[in-house]
């Protein structure tokens, strides 16, 4: 299982400044569990995924702890990390057309994922790749093995990417918006395929999405991210039934009913804070309907509530010192 | 600093100079110096480039002959200066002719498309069937050797390249919104072309012309080296290199300096072209 402890990522940008893209995230993904990581675009979801994969942009600084099956990935050498990637943790990203090498046969790209980690012959890798392609639902995988990616539809390409990602039975899969680039009709198929395959093998999934509908369909737990921080997490049932954080509530309120999801971001008034210079108190304060004076002076502490956790002064263990504004 | 009033043209040139990226400024500066040197050749050259001096046959470089003297005792420095003059004249003539022909052809092909494009582009494509130097040599085979033929041959090589660039740039501009605007205002095609397409599509053509100008120096020198370009007694860099081969080991200066001169011009045009590309052709339509 994956355990992320107080992870922070800073990315250098022009003018000697840093984007504090991930700021003290603590999160766990158990085996066979699907955890939805939700938040608006730019809130640091992909960067968190990159921190776990050891694939941050050049010059980025990482602190905190990433434990995979109890092993600290922080101290790994480049070659050790390479052996982990695609083997113990795998990635499926947003755009399948951009994920595959356009000049290589799709089957070869699956076989490569196997041979990167296993010392087996070409023939054997090929046979195993054909089986994987069959398992993800590519029709006639033996014949399509040699086809280049552009002869497949988006959904079929994403199936190939999933086949390659799951080739070595990883403990954890990071699925970074795996259905965003796909047709609505295909999205559900891919989600359920992911769910079926990972539940069967006990692979834990960190399902990154900005779509609460995706969370409702396949996730066990949810972590809501805002401006680099996880502001609330808990079981999907609890959080959906009783969101504690005003941002979660706003997300849920602005979401159309789950059965006609729009692919777009929910609309919440106001602007995301500048992550090169985040506000001192609660990062959501500028947009929060329930902001009060404590919010702008100090960042809220994380409190345990039931099975979940929330970071909001409204849910401080101590009673609020000042009056709520609304 | 004293505030001197510069004529308006002068300030524009200075401003254009500083508008260039730094490396391109070096290229521009070298070219300006070379052009001045060649324009003032009679003042700068210490000797008559063709004056034979039996007392200085293969003389090594010294103060009187900074680049030494050749097998006939002619001053290599003076000959290089005059040869530069010939080379630059051929280069400017060839690139100017090619650009002036490519401008209307490429613009019409890109702007109108359809059969106009076919009628213009297909025959130009045929010129690309032969490798560049072969095309030049073919023309020379027909007409006979000489500086003017060499310039025309280079122009012929460059015409299809420049026309293609201009065609691509016009194609892009022709689909930009303001051209539609001009049409909607009832302007004639010619007015739209003159006011919008040509000014907006000119950048890549200039970039390509600058880069090609550098290689024109090389082509001209190659042709003269083969005896197919500039004919003696006119001094030319290629001819000097061809003549100096026989005395290479005794008097390497006869070979070294004209060759360096070519390398410097090519480098200068390349720097300028690359810099102009950054400023004028961000999409990289020129090759």
């Amino acid at each position: 299982m994956l355990q992320i402890n107080d992870v922070r990522v800073r990315i250098p940008v022009a003018g000697g400044r840093w984007v504090e893209a991930v700021d003290g995230v603590t999160l766990a993904v158990g085996s066979g569990e699907i955890v939805g990581l939700v938040g608006e675009s730019g809130c640091g979801k992909s960067t968190l995924g990159g921190a776990v994969m050891g694939l941050l942009p050049g010059g980025a600084q990482l602190s905190g702890q990433v434990l995979l099956d109890g092993r600290d990935l922080g101290g790994l050498t480049a070659e050790e990390y390479r052996r982990v990637r695609g083997n113990d943790i795998a990635l499926v990203s947003q755009d399948p057309s951009a994920s595959l090498d356009p000049t290589f046969a799709v089957g070869a790209q699956v076989a490569e994922a196997i041979r990167n980690h296993r010392d087996i012959g070409r023939r054997e890798a090929r046979e195993r790749a054909v089986e994987l392609l069959r398992a993800v639902g590519i029709p006639d995988p033996g014949a399509r093995y040699s086809d280049p990616p552009h002869r497949f539809s988006g959904g079929m390409k994403q199936r190939v990417v999933i086949a390659a990602a799951l080739a070595n039975d990883p403990s954890v899969l990071i699925a970074d918006e795996p259905t965003t680039a796909l047709d609505v009709t295909i999205q559900a198929q891919i989600l359920h395929l992911l769910r079926d395959l990972t539940v069967r093998t006990g692979t834990g999934v960190l399902m990154i999405t900005h779509d609460l509908g995706v969370v409702a369909q396949v996730c066990d737990r949810i972590a809501v991210m805002y401006a680099g921080q996880v502001v609330e997490q808990g079981t999907v049932r609890d959080v959906f039934a009783d969101p504690l954080h005003p941002y979660t509530r706003a997300l849920l309120d602005s979401q159309p009913a789950a059965h006609h999801r729009s692919g777009d971001l929910p609309v919440i008034l106001g602007q995301v804070p500048d992550l090169t210079d985040p506000p001192a108190g609660c990062r959501f304060a500028a947009r929060c309907a329930r902001v009060h004076d404590r919010c702008t002076t100090a960042p809220p502490v994380v409190e345990t509530r039931g099975g979940g956790r929330v970071a909001c002064w409204l849910h401080d263990a101590l009673p609020p010192v000042a009056q709520e504004v609304s | 600093m004293t505030a001197k009033s510069t004529p308006a043209g002068g300030t524009a040139v200075v401003r254009a100079f500083f508008w260039l990226p730094r490396s391109a400024r070096a290229g521009a500066l070298i070219l300006v110096v070379l052009v001045i040197v060649t324009l003032l050749a009679p003042l700068i050259a210490p000797h008559d480039p063709n004056a034979i001096d039996p007392t200085h046959v293969l003389a090594a470089p010294d103060l009187g002959h900074p680049f030494g003297a050749d097998a006939l005792g002619r001053d290599v420095f003076s000959r290089t200066v005059y040869a530069l003059r010939t080379s630059l004249a051929i280069v400017f003539a060839s690139v100017a002719v090619a650009s002036l022909a490519a401008l209307p052809l490429g613009t019409a092909a890109g702007y109108f498309g359809g059969w106009v494009d076919q009628v213009i582009s297909r025959p130009l494509d045929m010129l690309l069937v032969l490798p560049a130097l072969l095309l030049a040599i073919t023309l020379i085979a027909i007409v006979g050797p000489g500086s003017i033929v060499a310039a025309l041959a280079i122009a012929l090589i460059y015409l299809p390249i420049l026309a293609r660039v201009q065609r691509a740039a016009s194609l892009v501009v022709a689909h930009a919104g303001f051209v539609e605007g001009g049409r909607a205002r009832g302007w004639s095609s010619l007015a739209v072309l003159r006011r919008h397409v040509v000014p907006n599509a000119l950048g890549p053509l200039l970039v390509q012309a600058a880069i090609l100008a550098g290689f024109a120096v090389q082509i001209e020198a190659s042709l003269s080296f083969l005896g197919l370009g500039t004919q003696p007694p006119t001094p030319s860099l290629g001819l000097m290199l061809s003549e100096g081969r026989d005395v290479l080991t005794q008097a390497p200066w006869v070979e070294i300096f004209p060759g360096l001169a070519i390398a410097v011009i090519v480098l200068a045009f390349n720097l300028l072209g690359d810099g102009l590309r950054h400023r004028l052709d961000p999409q990289g339509m020129a090759s």
Binding site: M53, G86, L100, N116, P148 | L133, I137, T138, V143, A221
Partner: protein, 319 residues
């Protein structure tokens, strides 16, 4: 039909009109000479009788299209006509000359690719020093005229050190070692600029590919960096690289003319230049025809190679 086969057939089909146009242009050379080409060819030997005789010999009095038809028919049977000066059949002359030109150009190309592609890759993915050094080499290779580089090489290697022949030639079949020794300087001369262009193109193409998302995904699969760079990125960068190699082959053929003259190599290039100076039009035509055909064939091969490396190219317009 198999898309690749279709692609090959379509590309072959495109080559035929190009060959046709080229042959017409070269056929017309002698007819385009201002004034009477035969008078020009004969020079001071021109008398009304000799002019009439040569015109008949070259069939210049037939209608143009008949002349072209006969010329083309001859070519297809391997008959390139006669050397106007020596009267020898040109097919024999070309059979001696073409291999020399091919040897220089192909060896130069091979050397330039073998050096240029790895250096271009290093320039793209290597450290600052790799980048600086290759950039310096590129500027040098592009700016320095090839024949001058050849002269300087002679000065340094043959003149001063005396361990390489400054010029000359023996056929490979007679003396392979000697042949290669004679090839060293000409091949180096041509390869430097060629390598510079290949480095520049490789570097640019590799930088473009390295920034693409599938490279990140390859890393996420645990693919080794070496394999990412040389197997995946390089293959994706191959289209512009192969295209430039094809274009540069034309430049090499032009450069061969100069280099053959410089190093006294008996290739087609020198043949053409000598023939132009002698107004030996049949030789000029035959020589140009061979070189242009080589160029067109290399363009064809380049396109086919690109189609095989990148399936997107061969699939284009499939349906």
């Amino acid at each position: 039909m198999n898309p690749r086969l279709l692609f090959v057939l379509r590309r072959l089909g495109l080559t035929i009109p190009v060959l046709f146009v080229m042959s017409v242009v070269i056929f017309l050379i002698i007819r385009l000479v201002p004034g009477d080409p035969v008078r020009t060819m004969l020079g001071f030997r021109a008398t009304p009788e000799s002019i009439a005789q040569v015109r008949a010999q070259l069939h210049l009095d037939d209608p143009l299209w008949v002349q072209y038809r006969d010329w083309l028919a001859g070519l297809l049977h391997g008959d390139f006509g006669q050397d106007f000066v020596s009267k020898a059949p040109l097919s024999e002359l070309l059979a001696q000359r073409v291999p020399v030109t091919l040897e220089i150009t192909l060896l130069s190309m091979l050397l330039a690719v073998a050096v240029g592609v790895p250096l271009g890759v290093r320039a793209a993915v290597g450290g600052r020093w790799a980048r600086r050094l290759t950039e310096g080499f590129v500027v040098f290779g592009i700016s320095v005229p090839d024949f001058w580089l050849g002269i300087m090489l002679v000065l340094v290697c043959a003149g001063t050190m005396m361990w390489l022949p400054p010029s000359g030639y023996v056929p490979f079949t007679e003396d392979p070692g000697g042949n290669l020794t004679y090839m060293i300087l000409p091949v180096l001369t041509l390869a430097v600029a060629e390598a510079a262009y290949i480095i520049r193109t490789t570097r640019g193409a590799m930088l473009g590919v390295i920034g693409r998302p599938f490279i990140v995904y390859l890393r996420a699969k645990g693919t080794r960096e070496r394999s990412i760079v040389y197997r995946h990125a390089l293959r994706n960068a191959a289209t512009p690289i192969a295209t430039v190699i094809g274009i540069q082959f034309g430049v090499l053929l032009g450069g061969a003319i100069v280099v053959e003259t410089l190093f006294a190599l008996p290739g087609v290039g020198r043949l053409i230049v000598t023939a132009i100076n002698q107004r030996n039009y049949p030789v000029v035509q035959a020589g140009l025809l061979v070189v242009a055909t080589l160029f067109i064939l290399v363009s064809l091969i380049t396109d086919l190679v690109v189609g095989f490396i990148d399936p997107q190219v061969s699939d284009r317009g499939e349906s």
